[in-house]
Structures are given as structure tokens and as C-alpha cells.
Amino acid sequence: MSAPTVLVRRKGAGLGLLAWLAGIVFFLPIAWMALTSFHSEQDAATNPPSFTASLTLDGYREFFGTGGGASPWPALINSTVASVASTLLVLLLALPAAYALSIRPVKKWTDVLFFFLSTKMLPAVAGLLPIYLFAKNAGLLDNIWLLVVLYTSMNLPIAVWMMQSFLAEVPVAVIEAARVDGARLPTILARVVAPIALPGIAATALICFIFSWNELLFARVLTGVVAETAPVFLTGFITSQGLFLAKVCAASLVISLPVLAAGFAAQDKLVQGLSLGAVK
């Protein structure tokens, strides 16, 4: 082996090591949070930190309310309802729209696509107050279905953009061939379009789920005791309450688990969703 090759190898190994180091540094807070969640409150609050303290499920027991605190279940159920229902509604509205923007496009379909994108750039605070006043007058405050509607509007532009690009990947020649063979629209959608577009649609749904699950501002302003979502429940931990670190860690971890799972499942399409379809 010649000297330069060895040098290149060594440099390559060094950079690989650096990448590993960066990965570990970025992951460290999460790993530490996970470890702390399994410590007792006394062990969690030591300085210097104890890495070897004995493990316990007390933090999780505290969080799930067996310790006498408020139960997180209503909030978790509310978040599930809001995220799942709004994601389904998004799919219901976005699929036909994406169809009309890709497979059988309307005139000026790019303009329509960019209108959807531009609504995403309107900050949430822009409509917050009228929505609050409307909800108050209509008796919809503290109602989870109001959040379902708002989360749908929050995610619809992203979904339309992503689905448009997934449906556009279905070769028109194949659709035409099916049509020539006498297949009707429902058959074409089920047999030709769905198999090709399904992985993309699934990723879109996961990304919409993540955004709904994470949302705080609307939930904080528009819900109270009944329709409180998981992020709002977490805001109860903002002010310190004595020894509660293990409980906070357990709560943060449990509430983040659905997002971590959905995010890793949609990893490959995550960029496309977050960049509103601009990056593939």
C-alpha cells in the first residue's frame, strides 16, 4: 500500500470518528433524559450526576398518576384523537386535491400548488385571536374537535405538496394503458395509483401526525381541563416542584415516543415533508 493511501485511510477513519462523536454529543441529552427517568428522585438530583445509581420505575409510576398527581391519560387520549382525526381529515381532503394537481391537472395547477404553500407561511399567531373569539362565542372552547379542524388546516398544505409529488410519480402511460383496457377510475386508483403512491401517502400521514402531536400554541390557548393535549399537560412541569426530575424525564419521554416512532418510520421522506416538497 502506498503512503498516500494510508494517509487518506487514516484521515477517513478520523472523520468517521468525528461523525460518531457528533452523533453521541447530539444524542447525549436524550440518553441522559432516558437514564434519569429510571432513577429515583433522590439519585436524579445529585451533583455531580450519578451514572450508576440503581434503576427504578418510580418516575413512570409518578407520571401515570399512581402517586396521586393528575393522570396524563385524558391528555394522551386527547392528543391521539386530535392527531389521528386531523391526519385522516387531511388525507381525505388532500388526496382528491393532489389528484387534481397531478394525474388530471386543472389549468394553472402550479399556481394552486403555490397558494397552498403560501398559506403555510402565514404564522399561526396571525389568526389566533379571531379563532379564539369565534370559539368562545360558538361555545367551542375546550373542545378537541376545534383542534382537529385547526390541525387539519396546519397540515393540509404540506400534505397537498407531498402527495402531489408522489402521485406525479405514477407514469401516465400506465394509467392511459389501463384506461384503454377499459378500466374505470376506481379500478385505476386502486390497482395502478395506490400501489405506487402508498409509501409516500403513509409517510405524509406520519409527518402530519407528528406536527399535530407537537402543537402547543393553539392547544394552550383554546383548551382547558377537558380537551387538554399532551404538550399542554407537559407545560404543567414548567415551574419546578421540588424533587421531580425523574417524573419530568419520564413524562417527556413517554409523550415524545409516538413522535420518535413516527419520525423514524418516515425518515426517508422527512426532508421532503419538512421542506414542503422542495427537496426530494
Binding site: 436524550i30 438530583a45 445529585t46 451533583n47 455531580p48 373569539l133 401516465v172 390557548v221 423514524f264
Partner: protein
């Protein structure tokens, strides 16, 4: 992307040939689009129009009878009020700092990940994880688990090396919020830039290498120009998301110690102070700020989009 995006356009003329039922057919084509379009207009555009109208009124929800039209008075108040001006400045500072820092870090990480090495998939997963923590949970993690002056991990680690024991949030409140946000947003930038790196023309790079170009020359003259639009896109999308940030400010400092940004101020002025008119004016200002960024963002997205379409 394949020939598919242009192909639908090619079929358009065939459908628009004048037939008696042409108009009917046009509506049939449009119909699947309408529910989504109407929904979006009703839920996002109408409330904003209402915000715009309310912003011209002197309206405190606690004194609803005293509501009256004041023209641009709310805007004058927002722009002259020291606290509100401070929050405009904080928003700018927070957004610029977080976007720049996470962009630079994201670029470094993307370059590291663009190379082949053992366990690349694992490292990629480790790096994405911070972005997949619920924002409020991430903010709580930084506030209580890392920053806490008595039992936080940062001071715990400093303790080992005999370092000082600062009270991070009280001493450097804005920096504390920014660091937590940079941690969450660096993976986002990394993903966008990694996608950019992987769309480079490998043959061109090989050719340059054969011609004796150094790594730095290749980075400076081939990679960076190619990445330019991905950097722009990351910066613009990051700005749009971070200008709106509420979770981190609300959780880590509760808007105290000079960290209240505009979204927090809007929240506070109507939710706690019940100043509907003032809140609306501040909201409209956030929108104007976002629109400026959005105009650029739309241009970048549209140029990338057209490139995709024309590549077909």
C-alpha cells in the same frame, strides 16, 4: 422525478378542445380540488382578515363597551412601546442566531455524513433524534435536566473538571433559549443539506479530482455553489419556523428576562392582558415580517420545483 410531472401538462390541450361539455368537464376536473381549497380559505385566510380588522380597534376584552375604531393607533403603540419594540428585536436576534448556528453546524454534520464510514446509518439516526422530541419536552429537558444550576447535567459535568457553576438561564437567558433551539434545528438543516450533497454531480467531482483538484478546491468551487440554494432553502424555512417559535420561549423562560419574542407577546397581550387590538396589531406585524421571508422562500422553492419539472 421522471417524465410524469410534464406529461399531465401535455394532456391538457386535448381536454380543453372546444366541446359542448367543455365547461362541465373543466368543473369536473376542478371538483376534487375544491373541498381542500375552500377549507384552507375558510380556516386560514378569514381569521387573518379578522385580525387585520381588529388591529384597527382599541379593544380590551375586559371593557368590551369601550371598543372603538382607532385607525393606526395600535401600530403606533406597538412600535413605540419599549417592551413591544424589545420583543421585535428579540425575535430578530433569536431567529438570526438560531438559523445561522444550526445552518453552520448542519453543514458540518452533513459533510461528515456524506462520507462512507462504519455505522453511518446509526449516526444519522442519533443525529435526527433531537428533532423528533416533542418541542415542549425538549425545552423541559434543557430547562430542568441540563440547565438547572443545582442538579443539571451541564453543571454536573463542569463539577468534574472543577469549573464554575453558572445559573445558565438567569445569566444568559436568550442564549439558553437559542442553544436549545439550535440543538433541535441542526438536524433539520443537516437533512436538507445532506439531500443537497447527495444530488451533486459525482462525475463532475471525479473529473475535477482526476485533474488534480484538492478537497478544498472541490468544496469551494463545486460543492458550495451547488449547495447554495439548499442553504438558502434551509435558512428561509428555518426562519419561517423559528420566527413563529412559541414553545421554547414559553417553557424555558416564560418570556421573562428579555426573551419574549413576538409570538409570545401576542399570546400574552390577549391571553393575559386581554388587549385584543394591540395583540392583533402585533400579530399583523409578525405576518408582515414572515411575508418578507416567505416571498424569498417561495422564489427558492419555485426555482427548485421548476428544475425538478424541467429535468423530466
Amino acid at each position: 422525478m421522471t417524465a410524469t410531472t410534464t406529461a399531465p401538462m401535455a394532456t391538457t390541450p386535448a381536454r380543453t378542445t372546444r366541446q359542448p361539455s367543455a365547461r362541465l368537464r373543466a368543473w369536473a376536473t376542478r371538483a376534487p380540488l375544491l373541498p381542500a381549497l375552500i377549507f384552507m380559505i375558510a380556516v386560514t385566510q378569514l381569521p387573518f382578515v379578522a385580525t387585520l380588522v381588529i388591529s384597527f380597534f382599541d379593544w380590551n376584552a375586559l371593557y368590551p363597551d369601550a371598543r372603538r375604531f382607532t385607525g393606526l393607533d395600535n401600530y403606533r403603540q406597538v412600535l413605540t412601546d419599549a417592551d413591544l419594540r424589545q420583543s421585535v428585536w428579540t425575535t430578530v436576534l433569536l431567529t438570526v442566531a438560531v438559523v445561522l448556528a444550526s445552518l453552520v453546524l448542519g453543514l458540518a454534520l452533513a459533510l461528515l455524513l456524506d462520507r462512507r464510514f462504519r455505522g453511518r446509518g446509526v449516526v444519522r439516526t442519533l443525529l435526527i433524534a433531537p428533532f423528533l422530541v416533542v418541542p415542549v419536552a425538549a425545552a423541559l429537558l434543557w430547562k430542568h435536566v441540563l440547565y438547572n444550576p443545582e442538579y443539571g447535567l451541564l453543571n454536573g459535568l463542569l463539577h468534574y473538571v472543577g469549573g464554575p457553576q453558572p445559573d445558565w438561564i438567569s445569566d444568559t437567558p436568550l442564549l439558553a433559549v437559542e442553544a436549545a433551539l439550535v440543538w433541535q434545528w441542526t438536524p433539520f438543516m443537516m437533512l436538507i443539506l445532506l439531500a443537497g450533497l447527495q444530488s451533486r454531480d459525482q462525475q463532475q467531482i471525479e473529473a475535477a479530482r482526476v485533474d488534480g483538484a484538492s478537497d478544498w478546491q472541490i468544496f469551494r468551487h463545486l460543492t458550495l455553489p451547488h449547495l447554495r440554494r439548499y442553504l438558502e432553502l434551509g435558512a428561509l424555512l428555518g426562519s419561517i419556523y423559528i420566527v413563529q417559535n412559541f414553545d421554547a420561549v414559553f417553557t424555558i423562560t416564560s418570556g421573562g428576562l428579555g426573551t419574549a419574542n413576538l409570538p409570545y407577546t401576542v399570546y400574552q397581550s390577549f391571553y393575559q392582558a386581554h388587549e385584543n387590538g394591540l395583540a392583533s396589531a402585533a400579530g399583523v406585524l409578525v405576518v408582515i415580517g414572515s411575508l418578507v421571508i416567505a416571498a424569498f422562500a417561495l422564489r427558492v422553492v419555485s426555482s427548485l420545483f421548476r428544475e425538478e419539472v424541467s429535468r423530466a
